[in-house]
Structures are given as structure tokens and as C-alpha cells.
Amino acid sequence: MSDSILSVHNLIGGYGKMTILNGTTFSVPRAAITTVIGPNGAGKSTVFKAIFGLLKLREGKIVFKDRDVVGLSQRALLNAGICYVPQGRNIFAELSVRHNIELGGVAAGRGIDVASRIEAALDLFPALRRKSAQQASTLSGGEQKQLEIARSLLLDPQLVLIDEPSIGLSPLMVQQTFKILQNLRDRGVSILMIEQNARSALEISDHAIVLELGQTRLADKADRVLHDPRIGQLFLGGAMEETAA
């Protein structure tokens, strides 16, 4: 199991009486980008919430670096090395860009030089540095996503859970965001991503997990999934014609 940073076993849970996760089981390889795809309602976002302690599980085990992390608080998970960038806009619109990034470091333990990490994060995102004194609400959609990623890096995470990073972004911005994720991967960070934009996501991914009705249908190398005719038919739209041709 040492080649995977996270593994979830037989997760069962949902909202109220509705069960979304029906025994979800998969593992996430180290220092790689793993993309979760699947139809709406497959439980993609729900499994992220479960991993990040935002959903009470009825059953199941979540092991991060050989340690069961079920029931840990968000702060404890952050300190263990997991961070979560949810879907949509998750910035504090009325605070400045710099103050938004600073907030990413509030869970940092003593002895961590948060100030230099803020500088490092701003180095990674020149657009954010230029606008660091502005109110976060003035950023474009793509920059806001960058801000969320920059903020999540302040605790030097080993695993980043990122849900639909490309939603609402221009194609150019999507490419930039994916580039950032690839850079992180190259620096040894493991990334677990959900993407509606499955084709372009799989192209930059190392691994893919296909979820359906709260269960893992398939887990394989990303390019194999990308070229799997069944998957193409189901999720990638238009892939059938391409493979037929």
C-alpha cells in the first residue's frame, strides 16, 4: 500500500436517508494526478466531503499515509497534509487577496514560517502578486481559483482534493489551472481531482477512477481510460466516433 497515499475502503454514507456512497473503494497513487469521473449523482463530490470529514459515514475506512483519518477535524486533516478545494467560488470576497492567502496558514503549527510560504505562493501566481492588495472580489473567475489553490498550498499539503477546478473558466484559464496542478504533481504532491471536463482532465492525469452509483466501476491508467470505448461512450461524448474512425 505504500505506493498509494490515500485509500478508502467500503465507504457507506449519504445525506439523511439517501445513500450516495455504496461501498466506495479506491486508492490514490502518490505524486500523481488522479481524476475521478462519473455521471451526476455518482458520489464524486460526496466522497471528497467524506474524506475531508464533512460527511458522517455510516461505514468505511479512510487511510491516509497508513493512518485512519475517519472522524478527524478539518484542522487535524490539514495538519496531517490533506487540503480540499471545493467546487465553486470559495474566497472571502471582502478581504484582500493577500489576506485571503494568509488565512490558508491559520492552521499552521508553531515553527512554520508562514510569511515565507505566502511569498512562495505569490511567486507561483504572478497575477495574484500584482493584485495582492485588491479586494478578492475584483479577481476574475480563473484568478479566484488560483487564489484558492495558492491558499491551500500554505500548509504544504501532500494530498490536494480539488473539485471541478475548471468550472466556469475560459479554455485558456482551464489550461493554466491544469498546468499548475501538473507543476504540483512534479513537486511530489498527490492530486485527486473531480472534473466534468473529463477529456482534457484525463489528458493531464496519470490515473483515473470511474465512479457510478457510489461504487468504483473502473480504476486504471488515465490514458487507458481515455481510450476505453465504453468509457468514451458513457462520459466523454463523441469518443465513439473517434475510436471507430
Partner: protein, 291 residues
């Protein structure tokens, strides 16, 4: 009739106190959706706590310390844990109604256990008048204004310039995201309740020497702070400050130039005009509710 200058100074003094109370009011709204209709009574009570301490033999300064500490315990901690937390589960409206009940309970309790009569209360600022360019100005008004404004400025600096303040703002603006990045949201909410308790105790300390300690004195104050918060913008601290000062001045000027009997009506009419033409308040932003 008092000079315009004197009226303005007196208006700014009461306005600064309204601002203190209104700021606390908006803080509770922003961090925990609490519309505290007992906020006026929250200002009434600390004066009685301080009077009780003085009756027990404490010197004035010690009575102030005891009053502020007891406020933090009763109006901060106990208010949050015994009333807000259990009621908020049922919704914003049930909680608001519960605070109305609390207001009545507090008034009656003070009337019953202390006195129905107004009691004099010592002033922490000098009460004599000074002459500036031939105008007589109340040193008390000036002192009250300065102390209240310093308190508001201190709070604003805490909110805008410290990490703690940013965490409080984050917890208010988006608690879910704040929690995800590790902000101790529950602790931040408790902190705003404690800050509100200190603000109302300070307001009590400043206004009671002027209007005397009376069980019913919170009615006018609560209303003024409520109007100030709405006029300025319910979701903005600086809106509450501006609204408080504006209502204080308006209140005093209308007492002098319109009629003392209608003084309370003028801010209310102003409130209606604001709600009609700028419902988000002078400095507020319109609220988009996200699910």
C-alpha cells in the same frame, strides 16, 4: 436654546454610543444570524451590575471591571450557549422572537430585583462645561464621544489589521470555507459574542450617567441602535458606525428644532425613507443568499 455646535457635539456623543451598540448588533448578525432585539436591554443591564458591585462596597473602577466581566459571562457566553445555540437550530425568526422575550424578562427582572426608580450613575468622564471661542461645550459629551470612537476604532483595527480579525471576518462571510481552511469558526463566533458584551458594557458605562440607570432605558437605545444598523447597512461594521452617528445627530437636532415630543419619530421616518429607496443601507451591500 442650546447652540448648534453644542447640539452637534451632544448628537455626536449619543451617536457614538449608538454606533457602539449598533456595531455589536451587526457583528452578531454577521457571525451567527442573530437579530438581537434585547440589545437595548444588554446596554441597560451592565450599569445595574456595576451599581450592585458598588452597593456591595466595591470602588467605582473595580465595579466597572466586575460589570464588564459579568457582562461577558452573562450577555456573551450564557446568551450564546443557553439561548442562541439552542434556538438557532429552529431558524433565524424563532431566535429573534426569543431575544424579544429575553428583553422583556431582563426588564422585569431588573424592575423586580433592583428598583423601578431611576438611579444616578457616576460618570467616567468630567461633567463640567468648557468654553471654546465663546461657545459652551459639555466636556461630558466630548469625553463620551472620544471614548466611544476610540473603542470603535480599536475594534475596526482588530477586525481589519490582525489575523484574528481576518479569521472573524472569514467565519462571518463564509463559515463552511473558513472551516475547510482551518479557521476555528466556533471560537470566532464565541469571540464576537464576547466582543458584543464588552461593547454594550462600555455603552452602558457611557450613557447611564446621562440618562440614569433605569430598567426601561434599553427600549429607546435598542431602537436607536437597530435603526442605526439598518440605515448604515446591516452587514457592514462601518455602516453601523456611520448610521449611529447620523441617528445621534438627527435625534438631537430634531429634539431642538422640531419638537422634543417627536424626536423619536424623525429617525423612524428617516428609516422608512432609507428602506424605500436604499434597502441595503447607506454603506451596505445587497445580500445575495447562497445555499
Amino acid at each position: 436654546m442650546a447652540s448648534l455646535l453644542d447640539l452637534l457635539v451632544a448628537g455626536l456623543a449619543t451617536g457614538a454610543i449608538y454606533a457602539l451598540v449598533a456595531v455589536g448588533f451587526t457583528l452578531l448578525w454577521q457571525t451567527s444570524q442573530t437579530i438581537n432585539f434585547a440589545q437595548g436591554e444588554f446596554v441597560m443591564l451592565p450599569a445595574f451590575l456595576m451599581l450592585a458591585a458598588m452597593h456591595a462596597g466595591a470602588p467605582f473602577w473595580l465595579a466597572i471591571v466586575i460589570g464588564i466581566l459579568l457582562s461577558m459571562i452573562l450577555l456573551g457566553l450564557a446568551f450564546k450557549m443557553l439561548l442562541v445555540d439552542p434556538m438557532l437550530r429552529h431558524g433565524v425568526l424563532p431566535l429573534a422572537i426569543a431575544t424579544m422575550a429575553l428583553a422583556i424578562g431582563m426588564k422585569e427582572a431588573v424592575k423586580q430585583f433592583f428598583s423601578a426608580e431611576a438611579s444616578p450613575f457616576p460618570s467616567i468622564v468630567p461633567t463640567n462645561d468648557i468654553s471654546v471661542f465663546g461657545h459652551v461645550i459639555s466636556l461630558q459629551s466630548l469625553g463620551v464621544f472620544v471614548v466611544a470612537i476610540l473603542a470603535v476604532m480599536g475594534l475596526t483595527a482588530l477586525l481589519n489589521r490582525t489575523s484574528l480579525g481576518h479569521q472573524m471576518q472569514a467565519a462571518a462571510q463564509n463559515p463552511t470555507v473558513a472551516r475547510i481552511i482551518g479557521v476555528p469558526v466556533e471560537r470566532m463566533i464565541l469571540l464576537t459574542f464576547l466582543i458584543n458584551a464588552v461593547l454594550v458594557a462600555l455603552a452602558s458605562l457611557l450613557i447611564t450617567p446621562i440618562y440614569l440607570a433605569k430598567f426601561s432605558s434599553g427600549e429607546v437605545l435598542g431602537q436607536a441602535a437597530f435603526i442605526a444598523a439598518i440605515v448604515g447597512g446591516f452587514n457592514q461594521v462601518r455602516g453601523a458606525i456611520a448610521g449611529g452617528l447620523l441617528i445621534g445627530v438627527l435625534d438631537n437636532l430634531s429634539a431642538a428644532y422640531v419638537s422634543t415630543q417627536y424626536r423619536a419619530a424623525v429617525p423612524l421616518i428617516f428609516l422608512i425613507v432609507i428602506i424605500l429607496f436604499r434597502p441595503q443601507g447607506l454603506l451596505g451591500r445587497s445580500e445575495e443568499r447562497t445555499v
